[in-house]
């Protein structure tokens, strides 16, 4: 597609439920990132995938959070047993390692999924 697509754009859930957030990166981009944006907290790195390498999961806040990337393209971020503190905007970004200039150093962001846990 033309840009990074995230779905749903908004998600309201009850405390204790599981949620899945989806990210469709720009076609051909090998790197995919998940961030969490909370009010006043900036962007918090969660996880990134780079090609076929093992993902860097160092930013995941607890074992309730997991992510996978199937076929090197679409990624799903799963939050199990959601808590109210999980309420935030979850952003996905992708970047490529091909193209003119230093394209691999530019992240393209999706519009985000706003998660509200009641």
């Amino acid at each position: 597609g033309a840009g990074v697509s995230q779905s749903p754009s908004n998600k309201v859930t009850e405390k204790g439920k599981d949620v899945e957030l989806r990210c469709d990166p720009i076609s051909g981009h090998t790197a995919l990132y998940w961030y969490r944006q909370s009010l006043g907290q900036g962007l918090e790195f969660l996880i990134y995938f780079q090609g076929n390498s093992a993902p860097d999961k160092s930013g995941l806040p607890s074992d309730r959070f997991s992510a996978e990337r199937t076929g090197g393209s679409v990624s799903t971020l799963t939050i199990q047993r959601t808590q109210q503190e999980d309420s935030a905007v979850y952003l996905c970004a992708s970047s490529g390692d091909r193209g003119e200039g230093r394209a691999k150093n530019i992240q393209y962001f999706g519009a985000g999924t706003r998660l509200s846990v009641l």
């Binding site: 900036g42 962007l43 790195f45 860097d56 150093n105 530019i106």
Partner: protein, 114 residues
Amino acid sequence: AQSVTQLDSQVPVFEEAPVELRCNYSSSVSVYLFWYVQYPNQGLQLLLKYLSGSTLVKGINGFEAEFNKSQTSFHLRKPSVHISDTAEYFCAVRRTSGTYKYIFGTGTRLKVLA
């Protein structure tokens, strides 16, 4: 490990006045530096980046930033702001090798007043 500090959480400035948004970073290895902008209700987009070469980099919408290695700073400047520049600005770093992980600052909300 790397860290990014944006000391100013909010910066109000009058239209047509100059502005500087401060960014300091900490890293024991060489890094690339970035500024991203997030307009209200929109996603983040790249404003400018420093990879190598000239320490003064120019970005979109008349913004520029200067990489100062000795002061570990990458402050963002614009000589004359417009109402449309009202947005949140994020500074970020990434190691030049070994990892593709980005570290972002907490952001500076620029509010341009008429």
